[in-house]
C-alpha cells in the first residue's frame, strides 16, 4: 500500500459531506456461485475533498458507487455520510451513472428538473434548472428529446440533472467517458471550477489516469476483482493543473505501474 502524506493543508468549503467507507465487502450470486466484488475496502473522504477511483475494468468500481448511493446494501462493513449510516438513496448523494439513462419521454429540461420535481420543490426552484442547463451549454436544446441528442450531449444532461440538486457528495461514474477529447478537457475544467465554487465532496470513477490526476486531491488505485485498495496517492498540486506538469507525469508513471501497464506509458 503506497500512501503519501498531503504536503500542504487544503481548506475545503463546508458544504461537502464526509464519507466513511469502513471495511466494506460485497459479492454477487451468479448461478448459485458467489462472485466476490469488493474485499474490505476502507476509504474516508473529507468534506469537500475530490477523490478519484482507478481500477481495471470489472473490478467493482461501479458496485462501490452503488453502495455509496444507497442503492444496494453491502454484505459486510458500513458506509456513513457525516457519521450517519447510509441505509438508502438520498438526494444529498447524487450519482451520475456510467450510462446517461435519460428518461426518453422527458425533454432535456424535464430530465434536469427530475430531482427537484421528485423532492416536490420544483415550483419555487425553476431558475435552478435553467441555470444548470446554461452551465452545461445546452440552452438551445432545452426542449429537445433525448433521442435528438448526441452521446456527449446526453452525458452533459445527466451531469446537469445531478448538479441541479446541489449535492453534498457528487458520485461520478465515468461521466466524461463518452465525450470527445476537446469537450472532455473543457468539461474537466468546468467540473473543477464547479467543485471549487460549490465545495461538494466528489467521488469520481474514471479509466483515464490523466483525468484523475488533473481533477482529484487523491487518487485511489483498486486491485483486480475482488477490489481492494492498492494505493492511496495524494496529488498535492494547486488548481488549475497543467497536463505537462512533471510532478503529475511522475505520478502517472507510478499509477500505470500499479495497474500493471508500465510498458505503455
Amino acid at each position: 500500500m503506497v500512501t503519501q502524506a498531503t504536503t500542504e493543508a487544503i481548506v475545503y468549503p463546508a458544504v461537502g459531506a464526509e464519507l466513511d467507507i469502513e471495511g466494506v465487502s460485497h459479492a454477487f450470486d451468479i448461478d448459485g456461485a458467489t462472485l466476490p466484488v469488493l474485499d474490505n475496502v476502507n476509504l474516508a473522504i473529507a468534506p469537500g475533498e475530490f477523490v478519484a477511483l482507478l481500477g481495471p475494468s470489472g473490478c467493482g468500481k461501479s458496485t462501490l458507487l452503488r453502495l455509496v448511493a444507497g442503492l444496494e446494501k453491502p454484505r459486510g462493513g458500513t458506509l456513513r455520510e457525516d457519521e450517519i449510516r447510509i441505509t438508502g438513496p438520498h438526494p444529498s448523494r447524487v450519482v451520475v451513472f456510467q450510462d446517461p439513462t435519460l428518461f426518453p419521454w422527458r425533454t432535456v429540461w424535464d430530465n434536469v428538473a427530475l430531482g427537484l420535481e421528485a423532492q416536490g420543490i420544483l415550483k419555487t426552484q425553476r431558475h435552478r434548472v435553467d441555470a444548470v442547463i446554461d452551465l452545461v451549454g445546452l440552452t438551445s436544446f432545452r426542449n429537445a428529446y433525448p433521442h435528438q441528442l448526441s452521446g456527449g450531449m446526453a452525458q452533459r444532461v445527466a451531469l446537469a440533472r445531478a448538479l441541479v440538486n446541489d449535492p453534498k457528495i457528487l458520485v461520478l461514474d465515468e461521466p466524461l467517458g463518452k465525450l470527445d477529447s476537446l469537450t472532455r478537457i473543457a468539461m474537466q475544467s468546468e467540473l473543477t471550477a464547479l467543485w471549487q465554487r460549490k465545495g461538494f465532496s466528489t467521488l469520481l470513477v474514471t479509466h483515464d489516469v490523466e483525468e484523475a490526476l488533473v481533477l482529484a486531491n487523491r487518487v485511489i488505485v483498486l486491485s483486480d476483482r475482488p477490489a481492494r485498495i492498492k494505493a492511496d496517492i495524494a496529488v498535492a498540486r494547486p488548481y488549475p493543473r497543467h497536463r505537462g506538469d512533471p510532478y503529475l507525469a511522475e505520478l502517472r508513471k507510478q499509477i500505470l505501474g500499479l495497474l500493471g501497464l508500465e510498458a505503455t506509458w
Binding site: 450519482v95 451513472f97 439513462t101 428518461f103 426518453p104 428529446y145
Partner: protein, 337 residues
C-alpha cells in the same frame, strides 16, 4: 455579360420549379378523374333502371356535379391552396372510384349482371341514407354509446390492473392466475350467461365489451411496467423519488407505448363483441340494424349500415392513433395510420 447570364438563370429557376410542381401529367389524372365521374353520372341517366329506385336521377346529377368540381379543382388547383393540393394527391383514387361506380351501376341497376336483391345498385344505398336516416342515426348513436362506455370502463380497469400487477408482486400473485384462466376466453363466450345474470342487456353488453377491451390492455400494461429498465428507477431513487413518483412518473410513462398496443388490440376485439351483442341481445345499434335488415331481406340497408360501421371503426382507430402520436411524441419512428 456574365452578370446578365447569372440573373437570367436565377429568373429561370422559379419558373422551372412551377413547371415541375405542376406537370401536364397531373392535369391528365385530374381530367381522367373528372371523366370517370362524368361516365358514372351518364351511366345513371342513359339507360332505364331494371328495378324501381327513386334516387337514380339525383345520383346521376350528383355524380356530374362532382365531375364538374373535379374538373374545376384540377385546373384551379394553384388558387385553391390546401384543397387543390389534396385533390391533386387523391386524383388517381378518384379515377378508380369513378370507374368502379360506373361498373357497379351498369352491372346492377342497368343490366342486372349481378343477381339483384343481393347486389343493390348505388342509388339503392343512397336511398337508404336519405329515406331511412332517422333510424340509421339512432342506431349509430346507440352503438357509439354502448361501445364508448364499455371501452372506457375496460381500458381504465385494464390499465389499473396492469399497473398493479406489474408493480406489486402480491397483487400479481392473486390476479395473474385469474387473468391466465379467464383472459384468453373470447368475450363472446360469456354472452348467454351475461344476458341472464345482468339486469339489462345493455349492462351485459357493456360488461362484455369492457371484458374484451380489458384483457389485452391489462396484459400489455403489465408487461410494459414489468419491462421498465431498473436503471430508470435507480436514477429516480438517487434523486429523492418516493414510490408514488416511481409509479406515476417513471413506470407509467415508460410503459405507455405498450399500453397503446393493448388499447389498439382491445379496440379491435371490442368491435367484434359490440356487433355480436347488438345482434343477439340489445335491440338497438348498428349490429341490430344489420340483423333487422336481414330479416326484411333489405340488402341495400345492410350495405349502407356496413359502410357506416366501417367509417365509425376506422374513425375510432384514427382517433386512438392521434391520441398516441400526441402523447408519445418522444418516440421516434412510430407507425403512421
Amino acid at each position: 455579360m456574365s452578370t446578365y447570364s447569372v440573373s437570367d438563370s436565377t429568373a429561370a429557376a422559379p419558373r422551372a420549379a412551377v413547371a415541375f410542381a405542376n406537370p401536364s401529367g397531373s392535369y391528365g389524372v385530374g381530367l381522367a378523374a373528372s371523366l370517370a365521374w362524368l361516365a358514372f353520372g351518364l351511366s345513371c341517366l342513359a339507360w332505364p333502371d331494371v328495378g324501381d329506385w327513386s334516387r337514380t336521377d339525383s345520383l346521376g346529377i350528383g355524380a356530374i356535379v362532382i365531375a364538374a368540381c373535379v374538373l374545376f379543382g384540377t385546373f384551379g388547383a394553384d388558387y385553391l391552396g390546401g384543397a387543390g393540393e389534396g385533390l391533386r394527391k387523391r386524383a388517381p383514387w378518384l379515377v378508380a372510384l369513378g370507374a368502379l361506380f360506373t361498373l357497379w351501376e351498369v352491372a346492377t341497376a342497368k343490366f342486372a349482371w349481378l343477381p339483384l336483391p343481393f347486389f343493390p345498385p348505388p342509388q339503392a344505398i343512397l336511398e337508404v341514407y336519405t329515406d331511412d336516416l332517422p333510424k340509421l342515426l339512432d342506431s349509430v348513436f346507440a352503438s357509439i354509446k354502448l361501445q364508448l362506455g364499455g371501452y372506457l370502463i375496460g381500458a381504465a380497469v385494464g390499465f389499473l390492473t396492469g399497473v398493479s400487477i406489474g408493480w406489486s408482486q402480491k397483487v400479481g400473485y392473486w390476479v395473474h392466475p385469474v387473468l391466465r384462466f379467464i383472459g384468453p376466453l373470447p368475450a363472446t363466450a360469456w354472452l348467454p350467461i351475461a344476458f341472464f345474470t345482468f339486469p339489462s342487456s345493455w349492462s351485459a353488453s357493456t360488461f362484455l365489451i369492457a371484458l374484451a377491451t380489458g384483457f389485452p390492455v391489462t396484459v400489455l400494461t403489465w408487461s410494459g411496467v414489468a419491462s421498465v429498465s431498473s436503471a430508470y428507477y435507480d436514477v429516480a431513487r438517487t434523486l429523492g423519488a418516493k414510490p408514488s413518483f416511481l409509479v406515476l412518473k417513471v413506470a407509467i410513462p415508460a410503459a405507455l407505448p405498450h399500453v397503446f398496443v393493448g388499447l389498439f388490440m382491445g379496440l379491435g376485439s371490442s368491435f367484434a363483441v359490440l356487433v355480436v351483442a347488438e345482434m343477439i341481445g340489445v335491440k338497438a345499434g348498428l349490429g341490430w340494424y344489420l340483423q333487422w335488415a336481414q330479416g326484411w331481406a333489405a340488402y341495400a340497408n345492410m350495405y349502407a349500415a356496413l359502410i357506416v360501421m366501417s367509417l365509425l371503426c376506422s374513425g375510432a382507430i384514427t382517433l386512438l392513433f392521434r391520441t398516441r402520436d400526441r402523447l408519445l411524441v418522444w418516440q421516434k419512428g412510430v407507425v403512421k395510420w
